[in-house]
């Protein structure tokens, strides 16, 4: 949530859809609650997920500090396509600009095809009404979008020909698919993964094998192979690399998947759509890296999703 938790009167709040539509409409919370709803398990991630990893030097921080801006929940709400069908869409419309009702009123553009596919105006999270700090009374939940910010508490939704500009622009500029800078857009999140054990704070106590576990998710569907354990988690004693199978991952598209392996070969994560998580070198070549170690709470160059790893000392730290 940007700029604190908004104090919004649900009786006064409106979801307004206008722009290249046949008839602009405003929806109250009570009206939306009467629509047929759908539920989806999907991840939500910040546009600055793993951003400290842009650092030129390894940052000494925990997995929570480096990769913790992602979560997963069951979202329940009204399909945005239902509301757009009622407003009617001009054939020229290609994009949708959603503006939040938090104090900064940040806005992000979403491809209209995506909005009609599986985006929803969520009213519930894990079976309960949204909490004020998490989007109450309503939030736009476009599953698997994460290249930029998820938007919360949509107030106006404007349908247009091109991505829109937000009123109070972020200090960082983004490039839309047409190559224009300064347009913040939401695009399908690429594959992302990180190892949660072992990691800083969960030291290896002595020589031997350890199970490697972690989390992976993708805006492109399920993972075929998490590839966790690409480094041998062993101290001192030798052992077979690559033994151990992927276990216990959550087979829900666009949800966080938990993977476990005792050890295994290096392998980029492969999504069902054939997308491969980039290596560090590939990612830096495209997005760059910082000249000095950034603040772990900063967002240098925003979203980061290349392969990451931990290095252990001889003492298992």
């Amino acid at each position: 949530m940007h700029s604190g938790t908004p104090d919004i009167d649900p009786d006064k709040h409106r979801l307004v859809i206008h722009g290249l539509v046949k008839r602009p409409l405003a929806f109250t919370l009570d009206a939306l609650a009467r629509y047929p709803m759908v539920s989806r398990m999907t991840f939500v991630e910040c546009g600055g997920t793993s951003a400290p990893m842009f650092s030129k030097e390894p940052i000494q921080a925990s997995v929570q500090a480096l990769h913790g801006l992602a979560s997963c929940a069951e979202w329940t709400g009204v399909p945005l396509s239902t509301l757009l069908e009622e407003t009617g869409i001009d054939p020229k419309a290609k994009w949708l600009v959603a503006e939040g009702a938090d104090s900064l009123a940040l806005s992000r553009s979403v491809p209209l095809t995506k909005a009609l596919d599986d985006a929803m105006v969520a009213l519930y999270q894990n079976g309960e009404r949204l909490m004020p700090g998490n989007g109450y009374p309503m939030r736009l939940a476009p599953p698997r979008l994460g290249r930029q910010h998820e938007r919360q508490i949509p107030a106006p939704v404007e349908v247009g020909r091109s991505p829109g500009h937000e009123l109070l622009r972020d200090p960082h500029l983004f490039t839309d698919p047409a190559g224009r800078k300064g347009v913040p857009v939401l695009l399908p999140a690429g594959g992302q993964s990180f190892i949660t054990h072992p990691s800083p704070g969960l030291a290896l106590k002595g020589p031997g094998y350890y199970e490697i576990s972690g989390i992976a998710y993708s805006g492109n569907g399920r993972f075929q192979d998490h590839g966790f354990g690409r480094r041998r988690a062993e101290l001192g004693a030798g052992g077979p690399a690559g033994a151990g199978a992927l276990q216990g991952f959550y087979p829900v598209p666009h949800a966080l998947a938990v993977g476990r392996r005792s050890c295994g070969p290096a392998k980029p994560r492969l999504g069902r759509a054939g997308n491969v998580q980039p290596t560090r070198a590939q990612f830096v070549a495209q997005r760059g890296e910082t000249q000095k170690v950034p603040n772990v709470l900063g967002f240098p160059n925003q979203h980061y999703n290349s392969l990451t790893s931990w290095r252990s000392t001889a003492k298992g730290r």
Partner: protein, 176 residues
């Protein structure tokens, strides 16, 4: 839901009548073009907002004192709301004391200042007003970041060099 739905929707709209747009519940309320201006991010009033003259630390201090009004002793002891609906003066003063910087003894400056008035149900076209600038000037002056006679307005506020301009302060570095 299929990604091929867009052409179907467009085709249906092209052939359909203007009376029924969807077989759905149709619970939305039509809004007039004049009403949309407040929501339109392309509208000049939304993009730039009305001009604000700004405010001084003295004006901000006066506004704060006007807000913190004395209340009867009994109500103050209970710590609830004043008759006016505002928080009791004692609680407000206590809240301010808790937020005082341990080093300077002043109210710590905010990390950023935004347009607080742009909330749904209120005037969404409003930009930071003179009152916000005055209170901002007061807090900045209390922290010796500007002079007592400096006015904060859309031109001068962005030029103030905040102490945390190079990054946010890590409150619990040992927890990271």
């Amino acid at each position: 839901m299929s990604t091929h739905k867009l052409p179907a929707i467009v085709l249906a709209l092209g052939l359909g009548s203007g009376a029924a747009y969807s077989a759905g519940p149709n619970l939305g309320t039509p809004i007039e073009p004049g009403e949309i201006a407040a929501w339109d991010i392309q509208h000049p009033a939304r993009r730039h907002g009305p001009a604000a003259r700004g405010g001084t630390p003295a004006q901000g201090r006066a506004h704060l004192r006007a807000e913190v009004r004395p209340v009867p002793r009994g109500e103050r002891q209970r710590g609830g709301l004043c008759r006016s609906g505002r928080r009791c003066a004692a609680r407000q003063r206590q809240s301010i004391r808790r937020r005082r910087s341990p080093t300077s003894g002043a109210i710590p400056p905010p990390s950023s200042i935004s347009s607080g008035g742009r909330c749904p149900g209120s005037n969404r076209a409003r930009s930071p007003n003179n009152e916000v600038y005055a209170l901002t000037a007061y807090i900045l002056a209390e922290n010796k970041l500007i002079g007592e006679n400096d006015s904060m307005n859309p031109e001068t506020l962005p030029k103030v060099r905040m102490p945390n301009r190079d990054g946010f302060i890590i409150r619990f570095p040992d927890k990271i």
